[in-house]
Amino acid sequence: MLDKVTKQKLVVIGNGMAGIRTVEALLERAPDLYDITVFGSEPYGNYNRILLSPVLAGEKTVDDIMLNTVDWYEDNNITLRKGETISMIDRRTCEVVTEAGERVPYDRLLIATGSNPIMLPLPGKDLPGVIGFRDIYDVDRMIKASTDYRNAVVIGGGLLGLEAANGLMKRGMNVTVVHLLDTLMERQLDPVAGGLLRKSLEERGMVFKMPAQTQAILGEDRVTGVRFGDGTELAADLVVMAVGIRPNFELAKKAGLYCERGIVVSDTMQTYDGRIYAVGECVQHRRQTYGLVAPLFDQAKVCANHLAMKGFATYDGSVTSTKLKVTGIDLFSAGDFAPGPDKEEIVLQDANRGVYKRIILKDKKIVGAVLYGDTIDGPWYFQHLRDGTDVSHMRERLVFGAANLGDGGVNGQNSVAAMSDETEICGCNGVCKGAIVKAISEKKLFTLDDVRAHTKASSSCGSCTGLVEQVLAFTLGGDYSAAPKVKPLCKCTDHSHDDVRRVIVEQQLKTIPAVMRFMEWKTLNGCHSCRPALNYYLLATWPGEYRDDQQSRFINERVHANIQKDGTYSVVPRMWGGVTTPSELRAIADVAEKFNIPTVKVTGGQRIDLLGVKKEDLPAVWADLNDAGMVSGHAYAKGLRTVKTCVGSEWCRFGTQDSTGLGVKLEKFMWGSWTPAKVKLGVSGCPRNCAEATCKDVGVVCVDSGYEIHFAGAAGLHIKGTEFLTKVETEDETLEVIVALTQLYREEGWYLERMYKWCDRVGLEQIRKRVVDDIANRKALFARFAHSQQFAQTDPWAERASRGVDRNEFAPLAELELA
């Protein structure tokens, strides 16, 4: 460890959320790099400013909202100088100067001075009883006033003003909100949603005066009222100014740093002085300033990355969403919803239910959303907005939300606020709402990843992710759940799946260590998430050249069987197209008896599953099955699993084509191929669709005139019918299209991303263009698949049963008989 003398000095001005989040992120990346000193004007540790509204409303206490107590600073060897304000930055000598005149040197400086409430320059603005709404001190004064006085006026009908008004009303005051414009929260809401909000707040007793301009604050020793532009007056014992915030950059400006509406920073969060960084509400990045918490977290991460001298992250700006923290009112807004000539709108309005939804589209993508009354799908729309998903294929159902697209949560439950604490949110891991809420508040969790790590909710199948995000938003009252815009492959890297795949090709990287070195992996050997992903990407990119890394494969793919809860394995031999013979069945029966296999079961994909096989018996079981002509069914693989068929024209009186034969042909061509996630096919001989082809990854429905090819279906975590891809006339064409489609998925899919998710992300039209319309491209894709099959179609069972591959894997290293 470096001692204090040789360590570089990092001084942080501002002890708020942005500054401390940056310090936390820095400690994660480089815990020993700096000797850190934090200056904060307020006499507290770091607290969650977003939650001041619930404190004012009496729903939380100041202790509830503390994020980092004084002990935290001590534990991390950070010098906290609370209650001390910096009055000057001396860039020439690299020192900051405190109000008391003390000079403190820095090697790197981080400015996180946040913002100040705007105090309108009205006559009487300095009277006692006129306050802003920014910190614990303001809240204390408001709470005190609510016990001593009756009438409050809040100037400003934005987010902050309404939250202040709601809090004061809950504390028993008569509250009038004065707003300059005729729409409440006009930056987040359109007039319709603003009207609904006003109506519901009025029902709770809030009074509005709008549009109205405040002209003067009246009173001599203390405020007694306000006068408006039209000459009317209103009695008031307390006036809260909540008209907005202004980035606090006086200090930076005095130091000669370039400022416009905030401190101007680059994509690396540096000011014009490279030693000085700035994050949070005080900065201006690409002409934007932000007053919400999610962007601060994004900025903090990037800033910490550079302070830690890892130097590769960049901040590209954030899209933000807002939720009003007034208990009982559901309101969500995100993105850009101002009308425009190139924008389209989808609106749902149900006055009786008090529901209003407006989705704004541009170029087939969601660019904005305003939800009132039913906000369950807020995070879902927001996800698509940030990902830039092409939503044209679900456009007609879009306004009804995720649940109507088969993407919803548990048992159709979808109003988190209404759920009891005992309601199970995560069905995989049995996690109830109460447990999640408790973990969020007690362990100070902020992100979906935090919640997953601490509670296991949403960490298995992920279908409850939307609900968990709702619980987060509901508990924290903010927009914390915002996942980064571009998801990193895993926690070992900041790079996305797409980045990794691209760099592997561009840089001709051919081993996992080479990828990790080149892309500056943060961990020594990666982890259980990234290693299998990299192994797949290398295998799919360099067929025949890349040497498969067994130690980077999940156990099932290493031992070619499925691990069960007791550590035994299940074995599924391949039955082409679901067709078997008496001799195969006899061999399976013999194997089951010979090895005392406890359970024999038929699978959903028309195969026979032998469950409870001991690991050391696997090679012998396979040898017997091989002798009867059977090979691995790859029931364990992220690869081609099964082709399910119906009997088709060979037997069925309705059959139009030989669906069984086609299924066998497809399976014989495609078996052994590795894919991003499992791939299941189905071939039905007529539109009665007995093989259930239209909920498979790829499905063929035979008709009299040819073959309809469908894909991107699912019938597991999500239920989703397939999309129609194209119709062709011959079996050969069917094979060519399906193989080309699979190859495109192999080349573009993210590891563990099922075909329907890939289609959602890339867009049906994009895929159809390259697989159906562009025939040369289709043939090229087909050729690449065929090339890679030369190396893939070796029965892994035979290799292990009779050719001694991985012999060590199946035998113990030693057997000890201890005394």
Partner: protein, 109 residues
């Protein structure tokens, strides 16, 4: 007193992999890291008893194949926020030979 038992050659365990040693008290998983250190743990995840020997090894940790608990090889502790601990046994490599000293778990639990 530590009594060491020779259990095999280092090269019989794959790098970033594991082999099992059978004992009357249950299986012990012997792990080999990228830098050829060896660690021995009971082959049972503290979560639901999954066989750790079948997991993916990364740095000095292994991920249980059943539910992705991550266990520190040196201490047997689950990596936070998961909780739990697997019994460890001293293990060492000398001249390419792996030695194990079985520590009875009964005294501990």
């Amino acid at each position: 007193m530590t009594s060491w038992i020779e259990i095999g050659a280092l090269d019989d365990i794959p790098r970033l992999g594991s082999r099992v040693v059978r004992t009357p008290g249950g299986n012990i998983a012997v792990f080999r890291t990228e830098s050829d250190e060896v660690f021995a743990l009971d082959d049972r995840c503290p979560h639901k008893g999954g066989p750790l020997s079948q997991g993916i090894v990364h740095n000095k940790r292994v991920t249980c194949p059943l539910h992705n608990f991550v266990i520190e090889l040196a201490s047997g502790q689950a990596v936070a926020p998961d909780e739990g601990c697997t019994h460890t046994h001293p293990a060492k490599v000398e001249n390419g030979v792996v030695w194990l000293s079985v520590r009875q778990a009964a005294a501990v639990s």
